[in-house]
Structure formats: structure tokens, C-alpha cells
């Protein structure tokens, strides 16, 4: 639905102070409409800084961000308009939850878009269902939720806007495994049905391997790798060197090969591992 282009993007924090920090440097890349992208990288590698540029929350020190060919920072109007097109779920849900009730929080985005009351209610219900938040929590203050419940409400608030570009900063941190699976599966369905572009920042190699079609790996503010999960996870030594790892299925496959079991093909998901085991007659 919306394509995204980043040109020579650089961001420097606290310029001119002793704490000056170039968080991202000269990043250029293009994300075509409808792509499912995983963004990986060590702590402090610049992931959150990068994605906050994609909906004009941060202004580039230099370089450009273009959504559907238009520079999103060209004036106030485009900076504001891009917020409805590009939905961003923050790394810490606390930054996003500020209304009195859970319902009002999820309704905040749709309300700002000027939707009617009925439409808003319906979207809030749908979004709550999407993330597994029970309606009995609607009148509760977001401050009185558990960590994982807060995360779910923060995701719902952005889903309710039905953005053409959906960006999530570590959306599964703090979610229980069933919640992770449910929400990630629903995000896949949303993308398929709406044609939205999805970018997920993640430290979970298993999810990244299972879901995305492209992985962009950051290292100290620059792009260290950019390719399919298969390409990226075929370079385990490099990944480990920059603070990351490989999916659990890949580690186990490596150990099995060392024990002399000749597993074929690249293996980075559970399904692939089981299929490869079957092929060599272990099953």
C-alpha cells in the first residue's frame, strides 16, 4: 500500500556536547510496498532511532525519508499526515499509554483520524481481539495492567488505525509465548489482507526467521547485512560477532550435523528441522 525509501539517513544526538552520538550513519535502503521486514541488531545499534524517523518522530540530521515518493519532512503538514499512514508501536508501551482507560487508549488513534463513534467502537473491539485483550479490561486504567497486558494495549492502539505501514519496536518483549504467537500470526494476516508493509524490530531470532521475508541487520549505526532469513542465518559467526545469534532450530541442526547426521538444506525454523530429520530417516 505504501512504499518507503530512506536516503543517506544520519542522526546525531546531543550534537556539540561531550555526549555527541552518531546513532545511525548514512543509511540508504528501500522497502517496497507489502514487504515483511525484520530489523535486527545489538543493543544500542540504532534500531529505535532509525524507525522513529519513518513517521517523522525524529528529524534527520541529514538525509531523507520518502513515503510514496514524498519527503515526509518537507513541511508541517506532511509531517503530521505521515502519522496516520505509518503506525509505530514504541519499544516501551508506557510511552504510549496515557489515557484514563484502556478503551480510551485504544480509541485515541482512530479518534484523531476523525472517525465516527460507531466506527471507533468497532475498531477498538477488533483491535482488542487482535491482541487478546478481554473487554472486561476496557474500563481499567492502563497503569493497573500487567506488563504484557500493557504491551498488548499499546499494540492495539496502533492496529486500530489500520496503518499502511506498520512498524513495531520489539512488540513481543514481555509477551507470553502464546500471546507472541497469536499477535504475530494476526500481524501476518493483517498484512496479507490489507497489503500493508510491516517492519518488526526484534531480538528474537526464531520469530525473525519464521515470519519475515527480509532481514536488515544493524551494527553500530550502519547496515551490516540485508537479505533473506536464509542468507542472513547462513552466516552464524558474523551474527555472533555482532551480538546476535541464530534460531534455536539452527543451533540444534548444527549440533546434529556434528554428530554425523547429514541434514540437508538450510534450517532456521522448527518445521524445516523436522522435515530434514524425516528425510534422513529419523522420525
Amino acid at each position: 500500500m505504501s512504499d518507503l525509501r530512506v536516503e543517506a539517513l544520519t542522526h546525531v544526538y546531543s550534537a556539540g556536547t561531550p555526549f555527541e552520538k552518531t546513532a545511525i550513519q548514512d543509511i540508504s535502503l528501500q522497502i517496497p510496498s507489502g514487504q515483511f521486514v525484520g530489523l535486527l541488531g545489538h543493543t544500542g545499534s540504532g534500531k529505535s532511532t532509525f524507525i522513529q524517523h519513518l513517521n517523522a518522530l525524529l528529524k534527520p540530521t541529514s538525509g531523507k525519508v520518502l513515503v510514496d515518493g514524498e519527503d515526509i519532512n518537507q513541511d508541517k503538514k506532511t509531517r503530521r499526515a505521515v502519522k496516520n499512514k505509518v503506525g509505530l508501536v514504541f519499544q516501551y508501551p508506557e510511552y504510549q499509554l496515557f489515557e484514563e482507560t484502556v478503551f480510551a487508549d485504544i480509541a485515541f488513534g482512530p479518534k484523531n483520524m476523525g472517525l465516527g463513534k460507531e466506527e471507533i467502537e468497532q475498531r477498538v473491539r477488533e483491535a482488542a481481539h487482535f491482541v487478546g485483550v478481554e473487554e472486561e479490561l476496557f474500563q481499567r486504567s492502563p497503569l493497573e495492567l500487567s506488563g504484557g497486558q500493557k504491551r498488548r494495549v499499546a499494540i492495539a492502539g496502533v492496529i486500530a488505525m489500520r496503518p499502511g505501514i506498520l512498524i513495531l519496536d520489539e512488540p513481543t518483549a514481555g509477551l507470553d509465548p502464546a500471546g507472541c504467537r497469536q499477535i504475530l500470526d494476526n500481524i501476518c494476516t493483517y498484512r496479507r489482507e490489507s497489503g500493508a508493509t510491516v517492519i518488526i524490530v526484534s531480538h528474537n531470532m526464531d520469530d525473525a526467521a519464521r515470519l519475515t521475508e527480509r532481514l536488515i541487520v544493524f551494527n553500530h549505526g550502519t547496515v551490516a547485512m540485508d537479505g533473506s532469513p536464509e542468507q542472513v542465518f547462513s552466516r552464524p559467526e558474523e551474527l555472533i560477532k555482532i551480538g546476535l545469534s541464530v534460531p534455536q532450530a539452527t543451533s540444534l541442526a548444527m549440533a546434529l550435523r556434528e554428530k554425523g547426521i547429514p541434514l540437508q538444506g538450510s534450517i532456521y525454523t522448527h518445521a524445516q528441522l523436522m522435515a530434514a530429520l524425516k528425510e534422513v530417516g529419523v522420525c
Binding site: Y13, S14, P18, F19, G41, H42, T43, G44, S48, Q91, Y92, E94, E144, L145, S146, G147, G148, Q149, R152, D169, E170, A173, G174, L175, D176, P177, A178, G179, C180, H203, M205, D206, I240, G243, L244, S245, P247, Q248, A249, S251, L252, M254, A255, L256, E258, K259, G260, I261, H270, L273, M274, L277, V280, G281, V282, C283
Partner: protein, 272 residues
């Protein structure tokens, strides 16, 4: 060994909530052990956690830290000195404008002499890989860096019990491994008691004991091998098992190992 923390039939409801959040918890944590706590979102883990140093008090029942009743206000300082906490959201625990002051805050409050504080703070920051950020402002750090600073804060306290509520949620894979290795070492070498809440099954593999919570009750309690081998129970609880356990389970092999090497050995043995 004596239990260092003991929950005695603890019930708890939040003041305005009608629902019971902890429904009769009985739990003894042995001094020097490493206990991991799992459970679905909203199962009551953080609520249980906050009972361990008197942030929350039971509606009925008792929580003991050594021989101190957490409801005894005179013992509050001693209790907080014994049990050091890292909370789920590191943002809520930033108390200073400079990283090293933030880390020094707890030991200062405990009355540790200042030269020793200096040493402890430097050592703790190095341990979590944040020494070079010691003069930075904590609120301007990345998500994972904040989490590391919060962990340094409790390490500098050197408490008897290290209680951590999802301390690695925002860390990269190696950062996560370093934190787990560090607390495991403190437990094994220094005899510290570790209570770790997590949603990451791999982090529990090295624990002595795994406690699973569900809707305010404990539904499983045993060694990681014992608990993880109950694959159906874990699935019913919305949890997961390590990939190694899952593969052994699906192959119908004995679930007696969790690390990739031993698991590979079992599979290789079954093939030949």
C-alpha cells in the same frame, strides 16, 4: 538449607479490584538456589515478586524473609537490604541524572562506605558492559542499555537475594546470555539466591527449580527437566518449551536433555 523467603498461604487482591490475584500461594525459596518463575501474562508473577520485599503486603497469609515478617514495618530496611529487585520496566527505576549515580543509589541508601561504593559501582557497570556510559544520562539511553543499568544497580547492592522481573526482555541475544551467566555465577560462586521471572524458556535451563504460575496459583514446580518434559501442560498454560525438548518430544525420544549437544547425541543414538 533454610528457606530465605517463605510464602505462607498468601492471598492478595488489589484495593479496587474485586478479583483475587494471588490465590493461596505456598512457596519456600531455599537460600543459594536459582529459581525461575514462568506464567502467562497477568498470571500474577509481578504481584508475587513485589511481595518479596514488602512493596505489596498479603491480604491474608504471610511472607517471611528469613525470620522477618514483611508486614513488620520495623524490619522494612532489613528486608529491602536482603532482597534486591530489578523491576519489569527499567524506566520506572531511574532515580538519578547520571548513570553512575543511579547505580550508586541503592548502596548509598544502605550506608555502604563511599570508597567501597565507588568500587562496587565500577565493577557492576563493567559487569553489564555499561562502564563507558557511566557519565551518560540514563533516560537518553537505548532500551537495552537502560535495562543493563537497572541490573548494574542491583548488582552494586550485593543483596542476599537477587530478584529480577523480566530483566532481559529488551536485550540482544548475547546481552541476554551474559546476564543469565552473571546471575548464575553469583548464585553458584557467591551463594546468592536468584529469583528470575522470564518468558524465555532457554533462560531457565540452568535453574535449580522452575515454578509455573497460572491465574494466581502455582500449577507446576520442579526441576527444569521435570517441568519442561510436561509439554502438554506447558502448551495449555500458553507457554513454550525449549526447541530441543520439543524436537525430542515430537520424535518420541526421552526428554532428558535440553542443550543442543546432548540433545543431538540422543537423536544420533536413536538413529543408529
Amino acid at each position: 538449607m533454610e528457606p530465605i523467603i517463605r510464602f505462607e498461604n498468601v492471598h492478595f487482591s488489589y484495593p479496587e479490584g474485586e478479583r483475587e490475584i494471588l490465590c493461596g500461594i505456598n512457596l519456600e525459596i531455599t537460600e543459594g538456589s536459582f529459581v525461575a518463575v514462568l506464567g502467562h501474562n497477568g498470571s500474577g508473577k509481578s504481584t508475587l515478586f513485589k511481595h518479596m520485599n514488602a512493596i505489596l503486603l498479603p491480604t491474608s497469609g504471610k511472607v517471611w524473609v528469613r525470620d522477618m515478617d514483611t508486614a513488620d514495618e520495623d524490619k522494612l530496611l532489613d528486608i529491602r537490604r536482603t532482597v534486591g529487585m530489578v523491576f519489569q520496566n527499567p524506566d520506572n527505576q531511574i532515580v538519578a541524572n547520571v548513570v553512575e549515580d543511579d547505580v550508586a543509589f541503592a548502596p548509598e541508601n544502605l550506608g555502604v562506605p563511599s570508597e567501597e561504593i565507588r568500587q562496587r559501582v565500577d565493577a557492576a557497570l563493567k559487569q553489564v558492559g555499561m562502564y563507558e556510559f557511566r557519565m551518560h544520562a540514563p533516560h537518553l539511553l537505548s532500551g537495552g542499555q537502560k535495562q543493563r543499568v537497572a541490573i548494574a544497580g542491583v548488582l552494586a547492592m550485593q543483596p542476599k537475594v537477587l530478584a529480577l522481573d523480566e530483566p532481559t526482555a529488551m536485550l540482544d541475544p548475547q546481552g541476554r546470555k551474559e546476564v543469565i551467566d552473571t546471575v548464575t555465577r553469583l548464585c553458584r560462586e557467591k551463594g546468592m539466591t536468584v529469583v528470575l521471572i522470564t518468558h524465555h524458556m532457554e533462560e531457565c535451563i540452568g535453574a535449580d527449580r522452575l515454578v509455573v504460575m497460572s491465574n494466581g496459583s502455582i500449577v507446576a514446580d520442579g526441576t527444569p527437566l521435570e517441568v519442561f518434559s510436561q509439554v502438554e501442560l506447558m502448551e495449555r498454560e500458553g507457554l513454550d518449551v525449549p526447541e530441543t525438548t520439543r524436537v525430542l518430544h515430537e520424535l518420541g525420544l526421552p526428554k532428558t536433555a535440553m542443550d543442543p549437544e546432548s540433545c543431538a547425541a540422543i537423536i544420533a543414538g536413536a538413529k543408529s
